[in-house]
């Protein structure tokens, strides 16, 4: 019964895993021509490339902005939806819409909103007397635009997970707290938050892993050729450009290995740290 999955995973995932590591030690040029073993040359090139360091910095910035904002907003909405309100399932569907919509369709609209020449945002800005900007080409705003879209699409999904976590907390705790005269905020800080830490932990891990792999938004809103790509590209975007725009597949494999190592390191670190704040009883 496990044969199809095991064989499929073997061919398309297990073998590729080792192949990437092997390829990262080879010089592979255009048309997949393997020009031989080069040791750690790709890694040396990678770490001495200023663009790579800028890319890493960009990626960490994405994580630092997108992860907490998505988490807090998702938690906020989940808590609001948990107060006995009417139309819960309608709210849930609507909030979930951005999360299930094709990134290409979504970025088309957002790109138009942020467009520097005929964008909606600029119409609003000039309408209230503020200067228009080239939002997506401006070094100080282009990354922010991508973050806004990412947060907009994240909130609904993680809200549903957090809401389910909140609803899983036994009503008895709240009843006891009410008898003791606890306020809404006290109930949130003393009951909801601590008992929700396993779910929050899961959400944080998923958010970090997915944010580290940001690609669609950057590809679709900035594009590979724009000037702004330098200060917006993520590690995955850099990987994509190395492999397919510059046909340096050995080098791209080294970038992929680095991405994997970083994500693994962060996940292991989080697993170690969870004892300090995650409450499993």
């Amino acid at each position: 019964m496990i044969a199809p999955v095991t064989i499929g995973l073997g061919i398309f995932y297990f073998y590729p895993f080792f192949r990437v590591i092997r390829d990262s030690l080879h010089n592979i040029g255009a048309f997949d021509r393997d020009q031989g073993f080069v040791g750690f040359k790709n890694y040396v090139t990678m770490f001495s490339d200023a663009e790579m360091w800028q890319t890493l910095l960009n990626t960490f910035k994405y994580v630092i902005i997108i992860v907490p904002c998505s988490l807090l907003l998702a938690l906020f909405v989940a808590v609001l939806l948990n107060t006995r309100i009417k139309g819960l399932s309608i709210f849930r569907v609507i909030y979930f819409l951005p999360a299930i919509t094709m990134s290409v369709a979504v970025s088309m609209v957002w790109r138009w909103i942020f467009n520097g020449d005929y964008g909606i945002l600029n119409s609003i800005m000039t309408g209230i007397g503020l200067p228009a900007r080239q939002w997506l080409n401006d070094r100080s705003t282009s990354m922010l635009c991508i973050c806004i879209v990412a947060i907009w699409s994240n909130v609904g999904y993680y809200m549903i997970i957090l809401l389910a976590g909140i609803q899983g907390i036994s009503k008895g705790y709240y009843e006891a707290a009410e008898i003791d005269g606890a306020s809404g905020f006290q109930k949130f800080y003393k009951i909801t938050l601590p008992l929700l830490t396993p779910t929050i932990f899961y959400v944080v891990i998923m958010l970090i892993i997915s944010t580290f792999q940001t690609f669609d938004g950057i590809y679709l809103m900035i594009g590979t050729k724009a000037n702004a790509i330098k200060w917006t590209q993520s590690v995955v975007m850099y990987f994509y450009r190395s492999a397919f725009d510059y046909s340096k597949k050995g080098y791209a494999s080294a970038v992929a290995v680095l991405l994997f190592v970083i994500i693994m390191a962060i996940t292991v670190f989080q697993m170690k740290m969870q004892k300090k704040w995650v409450n499993y009883d």
Binding site: M1, I2, P4, V5, T6, G8, L9, I11, F12, Y13, F14, Y15, P16, F17, R19, D23, D32, L80, L81, T83, I85, S89, F91, R92, I94, L97, I100, M102, S103, V104, A105, V106, M108, I113, I120, S123, G127, W152, I160, I161, A164, G165, Q167, G168, T199, Y202, Q213, F215, Y219, L220, G223, F239, A252, A256, V257, L259, F260, I263, M264, T267
Partner: protein, 280 residues
């Protein structure tokens, strides 16, 4: 008096909660509304500064032009085939493997399961270059199978369904065996229906992923006739930058199936996602 102020305070906070939630709704749907309104506009209405909100007249011209400009129907069909095949394969393969890992003892079970989990830990992008090479070696670049082949097998799906099978009581199955039921029958007729929320959420997540995915189909299939919607629309956005009603019409047709699917299976999907969130 205390009671009276308390209920007034409650009413007030309820109103605030609704206002914030409705504000959130506006932010969540505004881009969709804009997409929708634009698709019915003329090009000059769409590009007007200051923006025109409502089109003067509802016209379907942009839906017709988009179908003409791209081999839209072929691309749509490719996307449907790719997504449906992926979903069916994953549900079949992952439920079989998930059940086996949860309920059957076989040699090397732990080793194989650990390997499956290990695959789950690796970011998807990591595998793309060798996967691309395999497709290339098989002579499948620019073909429909290229779109779905690596996605038919899922470590995540296997793990997810294993968790669902594990949460079912063993007695259920034992009772079936006492009644002379075979393993295959017990799996198909008793166990499988009980993990329906798991199957639904895996199905929707997989469909959503296969339907929306950008990087993989963009890499393997570069000819327009073999593309899926995501790369095709992104390509079109570059080609026809100024035809906003056209690209918005395309975008609407592209997002509708996933929205309908989600609306129909909402309850089970949320049950499933909630389950994964808590167990994860």
């Amino acid at each position: 008096m205390g009671l009276h102020t308390k209920s007034r305070k409650n009413k007030f906070s309820t109103i605030i909660v609704y206002l914030i939630l409705i504000g959130g709704v506006v932010i969540a749907v505004a881009p969709f509304v804009w997409m929708f309104l634009t698709a019915f506009k003329t090009n000059s209405e769409a590009m007007a500064i200051p923006p025109v909100i409502f089109p003067k007249q509802i016209r379907l011209t942009s839906f017709v032009t988009i179908v003409d400009k791209l081999p839209f129907i072929t691309i749509y069909t490719n996307t449907v085939i790719s997504a449906v095949v992926t979903v069916i394969a994953q549900l079949t393969f992952c439920s079989m493997a998930g059940y086996a890992y949860a309920r059957i003892d076989f040699p090397f079970k732990n080793v194989l399961f650990t390997i499956t989990l290990a695959v789950l830990m690796v970011p998807g992008t990591f595998f793309i270059l060798p996967q691309y090479r395999i497709i290339y070696k098989l002579g499948l670049l620019n073909s429909i199978p290229a779109l779905f082949l690596p996605n038919l097998f899922s470590a995540m799906g296997t793990f997810l369904l294993r968790q669902f099978f594990l949460s079912l009581p063993q007695e259920l199955e034992d009772a079936a065996y006492i009644d002379g039921c075979s393993r295959g029958k017990a799996f198909l007729l008793i166990m499988l229906p009980l993990v329906k929320p798991g199957l639904v959420s895996l199905g929707i997540l997989t469909f959503k992923f296969a339907w929306n995915d950008l990087m993989w189909p963009m890499i393997v299939n570069t000819s327009t006739e073999k593309m899926t919607l995501s790369p095709a629309l992104s390509f079109m956005q570059g080609q026809y930058v100024t035809d906003y009603p056209g690209i918005m019409a395309g975008a609407i047709m592209a997002v509708i199936p996933v929205i309908i699917l989600f609306a129909v299976f909402q309850k089970q999907f949320i049950e499933g996602v909630a389950h994964t969130g808590i167990k994860g």
